[in-house]
């Protein structure tokens, strides 16, 4: 009889399966019938908790609301909606968050390069230019402008570059000015990284300390995996 909605009892509660081949109107109709039936079958004072499985269908907020409006009352509640699919937009977001964004360009004076997550920049940041990322920033090339890692407040982010020029590094709300006087400009060419230490002070450290100071860098576990 029921071909749009199936009710199953599980350990976790009642599972309400909405078949993705059925139309949404049909589903609503059947949920209404089901509700009336359940009301009659269950004794008062007994609470029922549902979780809704939508299969290969992604419900919009208003559709979820419609279902909640029918089911939820004093005795019935919905704990969650579960779907086997996600929108392409969300998928892209997850995809982007799980790997550093690669940019090959020159960031010139007055330009701002914004990135969600980590940023790998191959190119130069000119004086007056800004690169910003919510995660860490890695620069292959010359950093002469501003690099702002952990832009949204993440203080565990780092900035990695060869600090050979006057520049400015910001991590979260901390600011560090890299000052190179003419005397020590050729002092070292090695790559260094800037991070915020336990005392909430920005410090510049040599590359070989990276694994000890920030062991989580490089283990990208953002998103699904």
């Amino acid at each position: 009889m029921n071909n749009a909605v199936t009710l199953k009892g599980r350990k976790e509660g009642f599972q309400l399966i909405l078949h993705s081949s059925a139309s949404f109107e049909k589903i609503l109709e059947e949920i209404k019938e089901l509700k009336v039936q359940l009301k009659n079958d269950t004794q008062t004072g007994h609470e029922l908790n549902f979780y809704v499985k939508t299969g290969n269908r992604e419900l919009t907020d208003s559709e979820k609301k419609q279902i909640e409006d029918i089911i939820v009352d004093d005795h019935f509640s919905i704990s969650s909606f579960q779907s086997d699919v996600i929108s392409i937009e969300d998928a892209l977001k997850l995809h982007q968050a799980s790997r550093p964004r690669l940019e090959v360009r020159t960031v010139r004076s007055g330009q701002i390069l914004d990135a969600q997550g980590d940023l790998l920049l191959i190119g130069e940041v000119h004086p007056g230019g800004t690169v910003r990322a919510t995660g860490s920033i890695f620069v292959i090339g010359e950093l002469k402008g501003i690099a702002h890692a952990g832009f949204s407040g993440n203080e565990s982010a780092i900035v990695l570059a060869n600090f050979r020029h006057n520049a400015q590094v910001r991590i979260g709300g901390n600011v560090h000015v890299i000052e190179k006087s003419e005397g020590n400009s050729e002092q070292s060419d090695e790559i260094k990284f800037v991070c915020v230490n336990d005392l909430h002070i920005i410090e510049v450290s040599p590359l070989h300390d990276l694994k000890t100071i920030r062991p989580e860098i490089g283990k990208h576990s953002g998103g699904l995996f």
């Binding site: 007055g110 007056g128 006057n166 400015q168």
Partner: protein
Amino acid sequence: MGKAIVVTSGKGGVGKTTSTANIGTALALQSKKVCLVDMDIGLRNLDVILGLENRIIYDIIDVVEGRAKLHQAIIKDKRFNDQLFLLPAAQHADKNAINEEQMIELIGELKKDYDYVLIDCPAGIEQGFKNSIAAADDAILVTTPEISAIRDADRIIGLIEQTSIQAPKLIINRIRKSMMQNGDVMDIDEITRHLSVELLGIVFEDDEVVRSSNKGNPVVLDPSHIASQGYRNIARRLLGDTVPLMTLKEEKRSFWKKLFGKKN
């Protein structure tokens, strides 16, 4: 209560920013507390000439839009103990990001704390210029002995006369002695008479200006250079001293001097 002075020219490239940096530095050397305000929003340079570019954290637009307090945006020049300060312009905004009322409020705030507030005006007569002159008490007009710069300076004087600012004081910048002596360009008297404003000072063309600006040091720090002396004199005149104008004459050594005189 300090004084707000706008440094303007109309034409670009005549040395507004260089003059602002050097006059400000010279005033600081005379133990005045000076704040330089870069109004060239979108094409800022004053910070570069002062060698403070990488110290900028907040700028004037951050202050106007409430992202930072005024004192957070002001950068102290460490070379002068608590004498010279810079309020930098924003680089990723344009001149319309701020208006005249906001400028008046901002400069009014600065005048409480500083003896001199020098406003570096952008080239042109658009919003950036209007903002720069809105809050100024006095104006310094920079020109070069080129007819195009003088023409623009004339236009600026006309615009400033329509405001409550006193008649601007003139700086003739980048004078090449030989050209002026040969009559290839208008001479100092002619320019001053033509523009009919008070002459504040003259600055001779000096390669050292570019050389030292490139290193982030205003030329005025080293008194041995001819441009440095010009700017130092201008600062002293601003403070009320009477300083004679520098002489245009190229030192011509007479035959006898060449023969018997000491080498320089």
